[in-house]
């Protein structure tokens, strides 16, 4: 009897394991065979579900906005349902890729601009022109759409945008005897001001860092460093997506980082969240961040708005202070005409002043991506850097963009914490990064 019982248990285990591997995709069939105008008519009557991958649903403070989008859109189009596909920020791309690999492709995705090359290279995203009309896209800033291109096609549609802007602490400027309404416009001016700012300490005796540029090993730090290279008129990749390390702007940017480090002005190896913490607690006088980084600052110090102001990125060397675009974008996958048509309706519903105004003014401070929304109310702390939008450069993408960004962080760490000279560090960067492009 014992043997029989053991055998039955073993059989149950084996069967349950087999059952684990036998799951079939329960995805719905791709959205119909309608094309062109027939899809435009059908989308108003047929029952449609848009699968929308969105990490923001899991983040505090953003859920209300997205649930509001869902309920508002579904009320306007009762035959269309939004089905959220969620995963944490760091996992959402893998989630979307794995689902697609299993035959269950989402229709839309909310993500970072830097995710575009990965998803395009994977063959997942389709050009936005296959979802939205040329007429609709004409309302977006051309430089913004240019920044979302891979090759000649636009693969992501920014919901809102921000270059890397300079946040500064007006109170600390005042304490250092500087004019709080006159932030620096060049790196040289910044170095002069930094001298005064570096003499300050906080009430509890901690030193005040004059300037913050993130260099820690995370991809967004690499994007920020790319922005700094553009400030100096340099570039990391040429227009063909090949490494372009021989330019003076790139060398000047990393020489400036080394100078800042030698003078002890820049917190070493800091992540953006470290800089936000320091800025919020009055230990950092100015730093580069995306506009929505202020959200992190004000969550640490609710009074931050009283001392925070913004300014465009600094001009360095022969550069004009150009920056690169950062934005949160909508990406589209191809599940047939009907699904694409539903995604078009959802996009056009979302990207209106009425829906976005509270979100990009108060929840995640940012600049609108559409020209028709240029006059909308901005978060007051962003006013100082409003002109930055007119000085954007398009940084080319490569499929291994995130790894290239990490390699830029290694370059920054080489000239700071490792005390490598700039030329050697750039040569090492070129050697390791050459395998990531082309």
């Amino acid at each position: 009897m014992k043997r029989v019982l053991a055998l039955v248990l073993a059989l149950c285990l084996a069967l349950s394991l087999a059952a684990c591997g036998g799951g079939n995709s329960t995805s719905q069939p791709a959205g119909g065979s309608e094309t062109g105008s027939s899809a435009a008519e059908a989308v108003l009557t047929e029952e449609i579900t848009i699968k929308f991958a969105n990490y923001a649903l899991l983040e505090d403070g953003y859920t209300e906005f997205w649930e509001g989008v869902k309920s508002g859109f579904e009320a306007q189009y009762p035959n269309i349902t939004i089905e959220w596909v969620t995963a944490p920020y760091g996992e959402i791309t893998n989630q979307v890729i794995n689902m697609a690999g299993g035959g269950d492709m989402v229709d839309m995705m909310f993500g970072e601009l830097d995710w575009i090359p990965t998803l395009e290279d994977a063959g997942l995203t389709v050009p936005v022109t296959s979802v939205l009309t040329e007429e609709y896209l004409a309302d977006f800033y051309p430089s913004v759409l240019e920044s979302c291109k891979v090759g000649d096609e636009i693969y992501g549609l920014p919901m809102y945008i921000s270059p890397f802007i300079l946040y500064y602490n007006k109170d600390l400027f005042e304490q250092a005897g500087l004019d709080p309404n006159t932030p620096p416009t060049t790196y040289d001016e910044m170095l002069t001001m930094a001298e005064s700012l570096s003499k300050l300490t906080t009430a509890d005796g901690n030193p005040v860092y004059p300037f913050g540029q993130t260099t820690a090993s995370v991809a967004v730090s690499g994007a920020s460093l790319t922005g700094m290279v553009y400030n100096f008129g340099g570039t990391v990749l040429d227009e063909n997506g090949q490494l372009a390390t021989g330019n003076q702007g790139l060398k000047d940017a990393f020489t400036m980082l080394q100078t800042l480090d030698e003078k002890g002005y820049n917190p070493q190896n800091a992540k953006l969240k470290d800089l936000r913490q320091l800025f919020a607690t009055g230990q950092l006088a100015m730093y580069y961040d995306q506009s929505w980084g202020f959200n992190g600052v004000s969550s640490i110090n609710p009074d931050a708005a009283s001392f925070t102001a913004s300014a465009p990125a600094l001009k360095g060397g022969s550069g004009d202070g150009a920056s690169i675009l950062q934005g949160q974008v909508l990406l589209y996958m191809d599940n047939g005409d009907l699904q694409r048509e539903a995604c078009r309706l959802l996009t056009e519903y979302m990207l209106t002043e009425e829906v976005l105004v509270d979100y990009i003014t108060n929840i995640t401070p940012a600049y609108p991506a559409k020209q028709s929304m240029a006059d909308m109310e901005l978060n007051p702390v962003l006013q100082g850097a409003a002109g930055s939008i007119d000085n954007l450069s398009s940084a080319p993408f490569v499929a291994a963009q995130a790894d290239l960004n990490l390699e830029l962080c290694t370059l920054a760490q080489a000239v700071t914490v490792s005390d490598t000279d700039v030329d050697t560090a750039i040569a090492n960067f070129e050697k390791t990064a050459s395998g990531m492009v082309g």
Partner: protein, 311 residues
Amino acid sequence: MSTSTAVRQPRLKLKKTTGDQLFSLALIAPTLLVTIVFIIVPVIDSVIKSFTEYKIKNIISGAPGEWNNFENYIKLFEGGKLWPAVIHTLLFVVGVVLAQFVLGMALAVILNSGLKGARFIRSVMMMPWVVPTIISALVWMWIFQPQYGLLKYAVSVITGGAVSDFAILNDPNTALLGVAVAALWKQVPLTTLLLLSGLQNVPDDMLEAATIDGASRAKKFFAIVIPYMKSVISIVVSMAIIENFKQFPLIWTMTGGGPSESTTTLAVLSYREAFVSNNLGSGAAVTTLWMLLMIVVVAVYRKLFQAEDMN
């Protein structure tokens, strides 16, 4: 008498040994199935992919990878990242495993010495082990934070303000040490518990006999306790080697492999190749080399440390 009992069908009767073998096979089938499906097949699949150009688009389209003439391996060996990663991995493994064993054994001996409150200490001591690795990493990052971290403050107070910029994770020479400290905090409790169970199985009569013969504490420890614990030590150290060889979340969360690649181990390199560069073939190549290195290290260790039966 009914006909059914009169014409009884002959029953299929197996030899006892055959029946036992079939029964054993049936019992072991789930384990075999799990091992084959979840370990052997993925390992073989990964090794095959390491010789191919295999990217995310292959996952999406279902297209197999294309043979690329060892290009993944050639790029790795020529790229200048592999050897530093091997060295960082070995340094991390050797350093953490040695420290883990010494600390674990010391704590186990203390807890086995009849210390008052040993049971309570044993319970409390297990807390780091049950904390998820990511949380441990975040806690230690906060402690090590160079501008507002607890350690910086403590060092500043202890040195009377002479050292005010202590930043263990920012210096390429000390960053791996910082991660190792966090790894030890997390792993020492389990090691201690396992070694303690081994200590408690050392026969008292042997120790008493040695005491009567005038053996010193050190002599008893090295001549009786350690030999009796050899099998436990062997398992504990093997587990520690494997655990630290594959340590990824702690390092990735705390340093991302930096600064200046000083904490880029094979685990970090593999992740970067596969999921940051999105080159799954290259990631598989790192993983294959990593697996081979781990097999060699564990085999050498097992060869050097063969358990003997003390009975």
